[in-house]
């Protein structure tokens, strides 16, 4: 999983870095940014989803693991 903050939508409410400081950080204006490449280790998946669910602007984007997504989409 990866996380990403859509800078067109972000208004600096700060919910993402308050709820998941391991994954997000503010810039000098208070806008949220994913740390490093936005990679989400397994133990932080729940926090990533919580951050996304609490963003008033729906600016936190979750990118599910592509391999898993593809597997899930394919009939077994």
């Amino acid at each position: 999983m990866k996380v990403h903050v859509d800078q067109e939508l972000c208004q600096g409410h700060g919910r993402c870095y308050a709820l998941a400081p391991e994954l997000f950080e503010p810039d000098d204006l208070g806008n949220g940014f994913a740390i490093d490449e936005g990679d989400v280790p397994a133990e932080l998946v729940a926090k990533a989803r919580l951050a996304a669910a609490n963003c008033p602007e729906s600016a936190v984007i979750i990118i599910e693991d592509t391999d898993l997504a593809t597997e899930a989409a394919e009939p077994t």
Partner: protein, 405 residues
Amino acid sequence: MGLHDPVTDWASDFDHTDDAWVADPFPIWDELRETCPVAHSERYHGVWLPTRHEDIAEIAHDTKRFTSRQVIVSEYRAPLDMAPQGTAPPITSDPPYHQGARRMLLPAFSPQAVARLEPFTRQACQDLVDQLEGNDVVDAAEGYAQHIPVQVIAHMLGLPASDGDRFRGFVNVVLEGVDAAREDREAGIVEFFRYLKDLIEDRMRRPGDDLVSYLLDVDLDGEKVDPFWVTRMIGLLMIAGIDTTWSAIGASIWHLANVPDDRERLIAQPDLLPTAIEELLRSYAPVTMARLVREDFEFNGCAMKQDDFVLLPFPAANRDPAAFDRADEVIIDREVNRHAAFGLGIHRCVGSHLARMELRVALEVWLDAFPDFSLADARAVRWSGGQVRGPRELPLKIETRSERY
């Protein structure tokens, strides 16, 4: 209160200064949301009231059809030539001017800058509870909540705490005086701007390490900002930062006085406080903003006219069952809470990080000093009218700690 006739029909003749609204607006919004989700009133020369989260969010994000030229509903309209800045930038500014003015302010209100103000805030709160200690009945609005944002903003502006009473007078005139006689309100506003002008002139002569000096020195598009607009920005910070935070702190303490289970849980689980604060902000969001309609157009079947006001009751959005599970219940461990207490879109409250810090510290210090309290007289609680809602009188009975030892 006020000069207006009492409201009998909320769908076609509402008034946000009416006694019933001031006492308890939630049933009014809940009913309108079901029966007339965008209400209209001819009062104030035309004003609309959406109550669904979806509509409020759409209008808040639509800076093309709705202008922020005036954000406080009154009988009057700010002249068109006040655009693009408006009377108090950036809250009254539209794009593209808005962005630059906002970027000037944001670094002073970033989470990093706010963290540096926390020790001052905590000491201010501690001094206030020390003064209240020993009384059986204290007013948490007058004696505690109202002083906290006043002292913090005075500290940021490099002003003595003793100017606090004057600030509160100015705030009262601008925000709560919308239904006062026009001459009284105007005289108050003139006095406010004279105070601000003296402050700006003083800092131009003798710059210091404060927010006024910073704003006078910062570049906007490669130029210094005209001191006239700095005056207006400082005015905004005083007006917007005081009543609102005072209301949020007061409403939160009111809730904890009413619901002992929540109070006891927060004392037992202090780690829950940040989550609880979001729910208290959702449930008792103090601020209702407003926009003006830029040109005649139809919004969801409503024929809106140029210069009609549109109220944006964020507290009503926060109680919309279409947006929140069990919207009418206060659930202090609510984890998913996409509330709109600080607005939505480009005008998200510049001071939201500061407000959250003040609210958290105010509650931490209060609960530590007074773990057991209740309403002294529920009928004596008085809420403010207009666009900022919070308790203005909140007498609480304080249980002494001696029983606990």
